[in-house]
């Protein structure tokens, strides 16, 4: 991807002549564990950038820590509006898309597929990501004329969602929106299908299930249950641009399977950080922040992209996906329905769903 990246500052010989070394930690997708792990990396290992995480709770916790410590945080998989909304920080940057963008991309596709007369029931993970994802989906579906039957918060890691799914049967809703991710999504979708929701008819309409945020691992975990189910992604290995092809080739040859969206965003974030250091000519976090703010680039798999200065959120195209009806092999789980253009998913920095936060000042650290 170095060769397809529009910036040519990196020469493939380290960063500013320095060899890159790294340490890793397991966040267990728990905010406290992630924060302790990042704290140890900063204090004991002397890291100057933290990258990764696969939960918005984790991202917000680690981002706050990095801001206090004067470290750059290049977020991994975090999809809550809050990460670059009310909890945004000057030292934190997000390449991944967010809940608002998922809603904005999915809305028109859902209208085209299912019409404008639907009644949606939300099951929502009870934490920052779930809340903002649900708010975004409710806004986008109500904008196309759908009604919201109910929003039920479910505990993270509930395992058995049967008690929450059963009330859907008699709610009068004809659509179930599962604002769940990871293992919860695998379980809730599987159990919803077991309860016969995909075969059900309500008010003369086929019952539909929607999963706003997809990942390859979730798709594999849910198996055939995802067939025909709409969702969205930040990036997918099936895209045909040169950046994607280069990344899929190098990743696939090393690991034997296509890269996930999480792998992609973390790799891109690392490259962007390295590139920013080169362009800034310094590892000083404030120099890096300055180099990243408003930076426009291409060739990383998402088309033309911009790191908006006002909130440190990347703006680019978003993918609307659907569970593949007849998968040809184990990797053929999802299909790209639409590449939604950036203009359709963009919002003002002071949009109400992102209000309440302040980037603050860059912290250069010790």
């Amino acid at each position: 991807m170095l060769n397809t990246f529009s910036s040519k500052a990196l020469q493939g010989n380290g960063i500013l002549g320095k060899k890159v070394e790294f340490v890793t930690g397991d966040t267990q997708t728990k905010s406290d564990v992630a924060r302790a792990s990042a704290q140890s990396m900063i204090q004991k290992d002397g890291v100057i950038m933290v990258n990764g995480g696969s939960s918005s709770g984790v991202a917000i916790a680690v981002q706050g820590l990095c801001q206090e410590a004067g470290i750059i945080f290049m977020a991994g998989l975090t999809h809550s509006n809050d990460t670059t909304g009310k909890d945004k920080k000057a030292n934190g940057f997000r390449h991944f898309f967010n809940g608002y963008m998922s809603g904005a991309a999915l809305g028109p596709v859902l209208e085209a597929e299912y019409g404008s007369d639907r009644n949606a029931y939300h099951l929502t993970a009870d934490y920052t990501w779930g809340w903002t994802q649900q708010e975004s989906m409710q806004a986008s579906t109500e904008a196309i004329g759908w009604q919201t039957a109910q929003n039920v918060l479910t505990p993270v890691g509930a395992g058995d969602f049967s008690s929450y799914i059963a009330p859907v049967l008699n709610s009068g809703a004809d659509t179930l929106i599962l604002n769940h991710y990871g293992g919860d999504m695998v379980n809730s979708l599987t159990q919803a299908v077991q309860f016969g929701l995909k075969d059900k008819q309500v008010n003369g309409k086929d019952f539909k299930i929607i999963v706003p945020l997809y990942s390859e691992l979730m798709a594999a975990g849910a198996g055939s249950n995802i067939e025909g189910v709409f969702g969205s992604m930040n990036w997918n290995w099936q895209l045909s641009d040169a950046g994607t092809a280069a990344f899929v080739k190098s990743f696939g040859e090393k690991y034997g399977f296509p890269p996930s969206g999480s792998a992609h965003t973390c790799y891109v974030q690392t490259l962007l950080y390295a590139d920013a250091c080169e362009r800034a000519g310094t590892f000083n976090p404030c120099g890096v922040v300055e180099a990243l703010e408003g930076f426009k680039f291409d060739g990383m798999g998402n088309g033309p992209t911009e790191y908006r200065a006002e909130d440190h959120q990347c703006f680019k195209d978003v993918l609307v996906m659907k569970g593949k009806e007849n998968p040809a092999n184990q990797f053929d789980t999802l299909e790209i329905v639409e590449v939604t253009p950036r203009a359709q998913v963009e919002y003002a920095p002071d949009h109400p769903m992102f209000a309440g936060g302040d980037l603050g000042e860059c912290n250069p650290g010790a």
């Binding site: 109910q150 039920v152 505990p155 890691g157 395992g159 058995d160 049967s162 008690s163 929450y164 059963a166 009330p167 049967l169 008699n170 293992g183 695998v186 379980n187 599987t190 159990q191 077991q194 309860f195 016969g196 075969d199 691992l217 594999a220 975990g221 849910a222 198996g223 055939s224 290995w237 899929v248 080739k249 696939g252 040859e253 296509p258 040809a328 092999n329 990797f331």
Partner: protein, 335 residues
Amino acid sequence: MDAIFIQILNGLDKGSAYALIALGLTLIFGTLGVVNFAHGALFMIGAFCAVTMQRILGLSSTIIDDTQKDFLGNPLKVEVPYVQSWFGPEMGAAIQDWSVPLSILLVVPVMLFVGYAMERGLIKHFYKRPHADQILVTFGLAIVIGEIIKAFYGANPIQTPMPSAFVGTIDIGPVAYPTWRLVYFLFSMVIIAAVFAFLQFTTFGMVVRAGMADRETVGMLGINIDRRFTIMFGIAAAVAGLAGAMYTPILSPHYNIGMDFLVLSFVVVVVGGMGSLPGAVLAGFLLGILQSFASMNEVKAIIPGIDQIIIYLVAIIILLVRPRGLMGRKGVMEE
């Protein structure tokens, strides 16, 4: 009315899992006096026996298909499962389809061995130690087992589908209910009945019951009660393993699945009465149903968050009002 009926079914289904785990816990506590915090791990090992069976039946030879390409553009490697080569594509696929029920054949011997090895290798050294020591060592063991499973199978939930014959719903009165959940409930009934019958109608069971009531007197009769209790540990492990294996189509197994059930199952044991087998079963179903009702939107509208605390609220009330639990022996937990 339909909503209430379906929540009763949900409760019975959840209660089945709680009851099976609590039954094993109670067997171990009643016979050996050990508070086994690794019991959830036994449930998890059973679940991964189902995953293992799925993988064994999925073992395949690889052929290169030049007419198709993989994601890198290379000729596609097509996996042909051995069972399909040996038994023909249709029969082979049917065998693979039934991997979860077939995993019972793997679960029983594996869990009997695991239970035996656990008791002889570790637990027996803690019989005369305080309950706090037992809890610490078994909890530690559960973490070790979980990490071993994570190292071999990864951290992600693994899809373990039910046989296609049980996919979909079945009409029960006014509602349609997932067929496999009903199968699970019936399966748990059979296991519970088998355990009770074994204890009630066999000489072995009679000796074990006598040992549970008065271990020293039974020992004085020249009966090796320790050996029988070791076997009971193995049986308790097998019950937990069977519960775990058959639960995999409902909840995709992951390395931490046992912990999700462990705390709830201990509450079930306490509510049912420490050492009481019928109490464990009764409390399992009772708490399963209560938890399901507490998850109803109408109930949560009155008391928000009640679905998360109902089981613990009941446990607190029981411990205050009737410390020995619903069916516990007089004196137990009452000193």
